[in-house]
Amino acid sequence: MINYGNMMHADQFRSKVETYSPKSSPRGARSPVVSRQDSSGTLKTTISLGKNPSIVHSGPFYLMKEPPVVLGESELTGATNLMNYYGLEHSYSKFSGKKVKEQLSSFLPSLPGVIDGPGQSDNSSLRSIIEKPPIVGKELLPLTSVQLAGFRLHPGPLPEHYRYLNTAPARKHKNKHKKHKHKDGTTPQETSLMDTSLDTHEKKHKKQKRHEDDKERKKRKKEKKRKKQRHSPEHPGMPLQPTMF
């Protein structure tokens, strides 16, 4: 099994075997002469079947590994419910129970402006702060009167192309049910803004119409009343005025 070579004398072999006696070995009956990479391993063998079956020893074989020290109690593994272990059930039930609103604006409701769009589009992404860090380390000082003179502005409203920033963020409940309709490339934000503005315009229009209708009705009523009053004898105080037609 083990080829010690012809060079090794019998005495040497004996003395070696004696020093590595199985009795003195802490591992019992295993041959201590064979050097092993792993103290707990034995020989790894490759067994090939077929016409010429052979067994080839190819390295350490971990059959007798040291038993782990009370597995399951000292070692934390995936066998335990880690959510319980770290006391995160509350967070789990918080997020799994109710549906978390997708938009960033629902997390930061007090933030003005449209914030639900991608940050790359208006160069406001947080990634860009990491990738291209801003100049820091300079002391922040209040502006002098000379520096403030640079902020002297022209009177009047802002030019048209800057005004889009002033648009208020669209209300979520208004565009919620219209989301699926927009598949023509326009972002839901834009369309929702357009929709809401159109909606309000239509509503206003309708309101105006109703208002006008009411006015006409009132006019007609008034005229009827006047006619009645003119013809009735109960209103003598009403001066008869010549009507101009």
């Binding site: 335990t80 959510m83 960033l104 769009g117 991608p118 940050g119 502005l153």
Partner: protein, 132 residues
């Protein structure tokens, strides 16, 4: 005095509000009297930045995962990241538990079968391992 994070949040909100007011003033600027207000607001922005800068030392120990930035940059609620993380962890936990349970069953079955086929060797093995 709240926690450092609360302080930072309040300061950031005040700063944003200040900028919003500047935007309103600037959007339809009336020079009569508004120049002074605008100047005050601009100085307010500088003061706000100073305050935020002072608070940075108090929040040095706060670590934010990079992935959260991606969520925010995409206009998504960062709480979705927490939700996704928890769900992923739970799935992985269940997966690993399944594997461990399977290996345990396999070990039990293997020992049973080995006991049937090689009773002497297995007894020796058990004795060596120290589990009786």
């Amino acid at each position: 005095m709240g926690s450092p994070l609360e302080n930072l949040e309040t300061n950031l909100e005040m700063f944003i509000e200040n900028v919003r007011q500047v935007r309103i003033i600037v959007s339809d600027f009336q020079p009569q009297g508004q120049q002074n207000v605008l100047n005050q607001k601009i100085q307010g922005i500088v003061t706000g930045l100073q305050e935020i800068d002072k608070l940075k030392n108090q929040v040095q120990d706060v670590h934010v995962p990079f992935e959260v930035f991606d969520y925010i940059d995409q206009g998504k609620n960062p709480q979705l990241y927490t939700k996704d993380c928890i769900e992923k962890a739970l799935t992985k936990n269940e997966e690993v538990k399944g594997k461990i349970d399977s290996y345990r069953k396999f070990k039990t079955n293997m020992l049973l079968e080995l006991q049937k086929t090689f009773p002497t060797e297995l007894n020796m093995y058990r004795a060596l391992r120290g589990d009786d």
